[in-house]
């Protein structure tokens, strides 16, 4: 802020201009979030929807119930599996694509960038349906491709061992373009002189990549890592459309479980507790990544 005293007209305008946004975010975001915490401490269920007076405060009973529910642990495990395998794969795909399109000799870099980015803008539900057919054990293109390579056919979405990896592949395909773009921006921000200096020191391509490119991308890695992880923890539509959480609950994620408890069985208190567990995990995940990144720096 400048040293100029605050003008009353400007102050009034400032609050006036921000009032609609603040009111909307306050009423439709912050209030529900606090409401969610309170809801998770009650036994709000289908009866309470008809008669709100039937709601009782049950303290941490919902959380206790979750800890004793095998399906909750299964969903938690599935979600971690998805994040732990899908996250690094997705970042690796994005970085590779970014390195490819950023080479100075590439013809039509804009065209390739647009192609790689295309899946990002498509509607998740629509492409999830497309992939469900691509994964068809008999008629799907994926198994046809495997057959070309003389690999055995896989019942991708019907086999509990393969359903989650199948969803991960489709998610990587859908999202890698987004982080690719962010890596491209990160690569552009590395000063050319650093590469020249490294070349003068006799560093080869690999050595330049390890000693100039990777350290130069450190802030980008943090951003990409955190946002990718946060997005993946919230996976919902893919299993909802492709597998309904099956087979044998192998693709039931935390958010899918929350949706089913909350909006199929109307156990809103329990569902709110699931949402809060997710929130805490995401917060811890973010702090952990920031800590790791700082220690390395």
């Amino acid at each position: 802020m400048s040293g100029r005293p605050l003008a009353t007209g400007e102050t009034r305008a400032g609050w006036l201009f921000t009032a609609p946004a603040l009111a909307l975010i306050g009423v439709f975001f912050f209030v529900p979030v606090i409401g969610g915490l309170l809801l998770s401490l009650t036994d709000f269920d289908i009866y309470a929807i008809g008669d709100p007076h039937a709601v009782r405060v049950v303290g941490l009973a919902n959380y206790g119930q979750l800890l004793n529910q095998p399906l909750f642990w299964k969903a938690l495990g599935n979600t971690f599996y998805f994040v732990a395998l899908g996250g690094p794969l997705s970042v690796l795909a994005s970085l590779s694509a970014a390195l490819l399109v950023s080479q100075r000799r590439v013809r039509f870099p804009g065209l390739f960038r647009s192609i790689f980015f295309m899946p990002v803008v498509t509607t998740l539900v629509a492409v999830a349906i497309v992939w469900r057919y691509l994964y068809h054990p008999q008629y799907g293109l994926v198994n046809a491709g495997l057959a070309l390579l003389h690999l055995p056919a896989v019942d991708w979405l019907g086999d509990p061992r393969w359903a989650m990896p199948a969803i991960i592949v489709m998610t990587v395909w859908k999202n890698f373009g987004y982080n690719m773009l962010i890596f491209v921006a990160g690569l552009q921000s590395i000063p050319e002189e650093l590469y020249e200096a490294a070349a003068l020191d006799g560093a080869g391509a690999w050595s330049r990549f390890v000693h100039v490119t990777l350290p130069g991308l450190a802030p980008t890695f943090l951003f990409v890592g955190v946002t990718t992880m946060l997005g993946m923890f919230q996976m919902f539509s893919e299993p909802y459309v492709m597998t309904q959480g099956g087979p044998l609950k192998a693709t039931t994620t935390i958010v899918l479980l929350m949706y089913e408890e909350g909006f199929r069985w109307w156990r809103l208190g329990l569902a709110a507790a699931i949402a809060f567990v997710l929130f805490v995990i995401m917060l811890l995940g973010t702090l952990l990544q920031m800590r790791l990144q700082r220690d390395r720096a």
Partner: protein, 274 residues
């Protein structure tokens, strides 16, 4: 120069292979949508229709009334985008340029919202909208897109570059703040407003979980919800489902291709730490 030719060919081969892998699912979706019924389920898989047909599109628009869902999606995404531009545009500018007490603290508080997943508030929001009578209405479906911290952040980053002197000169001339915003600020902000418009439109159009929760009447469904619903009944009708997917995806792909520069700038700006 000669030494580089081989690696340049390898580089482009890799790019073309990756590009083809990226496009195959979308190309197959389009191709299968024109296949006669049953042809997409043949062995070995067909890549192109033997006799292209529009029958699935006709079925969707006549018997299955997909135009209704197309219209719903347009209304939700269109209205949401218009409202978001006004609300986030004004707020983003104010947080960047208007000097008022509590500005920095308020903005920092807003940024807190970025670490909270939307799902945490979804259940109470549903109950809230239900008591307000907004469940199963367009308003209910639009609510989450009206104001967003990301939108405010995006506009603010861009508006920071507007010179104070320009605004102060207008104030000296006696112009009111609203007039300054409309006459001086809006033209400067136009490019970033286009960026925000594409962002909001795409996310409202593509959103699934919230409209699935808040819209209960089939006639109110947006395209993604209608499509997911349809895929349950018509799971065997591969070609029909592909035509439905094309109808859902095509508008956003066209919008992206037309305005991709603006959209990509938003992605890159969003990644810059404020």
């Amino acid at each position: 120069m000669k030494k580089g030719t081989g690696s340049a060919i390898l580089l482009h081969a890799a790019l073309i292979a990756a590009g083809a892998l990226t496009l195959i699912p979308l190309a197959w979706m389009v191709s299968a949508s024109f296949m006669p019924a049953g042809e997409a389920n043949s062995f070995p898989p067909r890549l192109l229709p033997s006799a292209p047909t529009l029958e699935h599109y006709t079925t969707l628009f006549t018997r299955l009334q997909v135009w209704r869902h197309l219209l719903n999606s347009l209304i939700v995404a269109g209205l949401g985008t218009c409202a978001a531009l006004v609300i986030n545009g004004m707020a983003g500018y104010a947080f960047a340029k208007l000097r008022f007490r509590g500005r920095e603290a308020t903005f920092r508080f807003l940024l807190l919202a970025l670490v909270v997943p939307a799902q945490v508030g979804m259940l109470p929001l549903f109950l809230m909208l239900r008591s307000m009578g907004f469940v199963n209405t367009y308003v209910g479906a639009i609510v989450p897109f009206l104001a967003s911290v990301f939108g405010i952040f995006l506009i603010r980053q861009y508006a920071l570059a507007i010179p104070d002197d320009l605004l102060d000169a207008a104030r000296v001339d006696g112009a009111g703040e609203l007039r300054i915003f409309a006459r001086i600020v809006l033209p400067v902000l136009t490019p970033i407003l286009v960026t925000l418009a594409v962002f909001v439109f795409l996310s409202a159009w593509n959103d699934f979980m919230w409209p699935l929760i808040v819209l209960s009447d089939e006639r109110k469904y947006t395209l993604p919800v209608a499509l997911a619903n349809l895929s349950g009944e018509h799971v065997q009708d591969t070609e029909l489902m592909m035509a439905g997917s094309v109808i859902t995806v095509l508008p956003v792909v066209i919008l992206f291709l037309a305005l991709q520069r603006h959209y990509m700038r938003g992605v890159m700006m969003g990644s810059v730490k404020g």
